[in-house]
């Protein structure tokens, strides 16, 4: 029991201690050098702003709006990407036709499409979902295509020897085999989806953390902006943890540091 506490301390002690030291430095050192509290607000005033925003009922709703936009966009973009990768790797003709355009689009910075999409779809939540979906689409697509094409030849031989249909080959071997690749894409896409939602909100929105950030910026409430940034970091961690959870849950067999250990 004692050793467990010691192990916990050893693992979590340094970062927690480091964090406290950093907050203390941030709190007191700028004041010594006469840095304006308005331009670089200390943690205490950021915490105050956070409470104020929460108290005015702005925090939870805007958090949930941006979370929903990012999560829905991520889901739609990823599912579409996996479906596209399936189609593309299924037929050589389709692959040859589409690949140059997909590679070309991949090179385009997707956020550049955001103003256009807001004009087309409007300033509601739908345009943010669409932007988040488009920005999530490509990393998943590219990884899924690689994943679907990277299968040990003998595994396919095994399926062929059983006269498996192409759908059976996909369902039993190709798709599960591609999951480590797909999750590599999903890990990137989930972070990008928040960027997508935020950029959409910057361009035109009446809700969401991005919108709140712009309003605070307009009022020169820098402490409030820092408060929103804290919440955004939290949002990022929540979404990343979600994907991470699914990753560990479904790709347990490909982890190099496998938790289970065999007889040899």
């Amino acid at each position: 029991m004692k050793t467990r506490v010691a192990a916990m301390l050893e693992r979590y002690g340094p970062p927690i201690l480091g964090g406290i030291v950093m907050l203390l430095v941030w709190e007191f050192v700028p004041a010594i050098f006469n840095v304006s509290k308005l331009l670089l607000p200390p943690p205490s005033s950021i915490a105050q702003s956070l409470w104020l925003i929460y108290d005015r009922g702005l925090l939870v709703e805007n958090f949930l709006v941006t979370l929903a936009e990012a999560l829905l966009g991520f889901t739609i973009g990823s599912v579409t990407a996996i479906f596209f990768a399936f189609i593309v790797t299924r037929s050589l003709i389709i692959e040859r036709t589409l690949m140059p355009y997909l590679v070309g689009l991949q090179a385009l910075p997707k956020v550049a499409l955001a103003p256009l999409i807001v004009v087309w779809v409007g300033i509601g939540i739908e345009s943010k979902i669409l932007i988040a979906a488009i920005i999530s689409f490509f990393p998943v697509l590219i990884n899924a295509i690689v994943g679907f094409s990277t299968v040990e030849a003998e595994k396919i031989d095994l399926m062929r020897s059983l006269v498996a249909s192409r759908w059976q080959q996909f369902r039993i071997v190709i798709f599960p085999n591609s999951l480590p690749f797909i999750f590599a894409g999903l890990n990137v896409a989930i972070v990008l989806s928040i960027t997508g939602a935020l950029v959409g909100e910057f361009i035109g929105a009446d809700r969401g953390l991005g919108n709140l950030l712009l309003q605070l910026n307009f009022n020169m409430d820098i402490s409030g902006m820092f408060a929103v940034l804290t919440v955004l970091a939290l949002l990022g961690i929540v979404l990343y943890a979600l994907v991470r959870f699914l990753h560990v849950r479904f790709v347990f067999w490909a982890k190099p540091d496998n938790l289970r250990s065999g007889p040899n």
């Binding site: 003998e154 031989d157 062929r160 020897s161 059983l162 059976q168 039993i172 067999w253």
Partner: protein
């Protein structure tokens, strides 16, 4: 016994050429003829590169012939058939499936009844000595255990023919010996027609009714040797005088090949 029955697997004048990337042709197998009777255990031995795997893949319908014919039960092979079970040199298990689910793959592909398949899968795991490991994942098994799971999987859909390509090649000598005896036991319990490729003369003699000795560049059947040693065989079979004599004979072929290669 009547006169010669039609062989189950009839390989006649089979050739196989591979086209290399530079456009030249590589002759992997030339004018190979071989007949395997039903319920026979045939081993193919020969140095690497003499087309043993290629021949097995052609029998399995995974590779086309460049010339000649292969017939199974009088029907020319056009592609893979479901009455064949395959065991590769590596176990080729799906790491995201438990051992049981791996063994069930053929049943899933052939859409066999699920309840009876489950029962059969458990019976097969018992047969190969893996009862109690049904819910483990492949990475929890040793090399020998993985290969046993692969054998159970190959038997799942009860194929008449079992094709095995150096199934024990990656195992250590002790495990290999145990697996040989176990394979004999499994084969006797199921009476299937088996074609097994091996590097090992001892393994071939211990297991088979007949040994086909292949020679390389291009591959062909150099010699066919019957193994008239009574069954059931055991570890003691190795000291049988017939075994020793045949082992020496087989070894002399390989040594002759080596000398010719110098």
């Amino acid at each position: 016994m009547t006169a010669v029955a039609r062989p189950l697997i009839d390989i006649r004048d089979v050739r196989k050429q591979f086209r290399s990337r530079s456009g030249t042709f590589l002759e992997a197998l030339s004018d190979t003829s071989l007949a395997v009777q039903a319920k026979q255990f045939l081993c193919i031995v020969g140095p690497s590169g003499c087309g043993k795997s290629t021949l097995l893949r052609m029998i399995a319908g995974l590779e086309t012939v460049s010339g000649g014919t292969i017939e199974i039960d009088g029907v020319p092979i056009l592609g893979p058939r479901r009455d064949i079970g395959l065991v590769f040199q590596s176990p080729v298990l799906l790491p995201w499936r438990t051992v049981l689910k791996n063994v069930l793959v053929p049943a899933e592909v052939l859409k066999l009844n699920s309840t009876s398949s489950q029962k059969r899968a458990h019976d097969l795991l018992k047969l190969v000595g893996l009862d109690g490991f049904a819910d483990r994942y492949p990475d929890e098994l040793s090399g020998g255990m993985k290969q046993r799971a692969a054998i159970a999987r190959a038997l799942m859909h009860d194929p008449d023919i079992l094709l095995m390509d150096e199934p024990f090649g990656a195992l250590d000598a002790l495990t290999r010996e145990a697996m040989n005896l176990e394979l004999l036991r499994i084969w006797q319990a199921s009476t299937k027609t088996v074609v097994l490729v091996t590097h090992s003369i001892e393994e071939a003699l211990l297991l088979s009714d007949r040994v086909a000795v292949f020679a390389p560049r291009p591959g062909f059947v150099r010699e066919l040797i019957d193994v008239p040693i009574a069954r059931p065989r055991s570890a003691a079979t190795r000291s049988d005088p017939v075994f020793i004599r045949l082992a020496e004979k087989l070894r002399s072929y390989f040594e002759a090949d080596k000398d010719a290669g110098k």
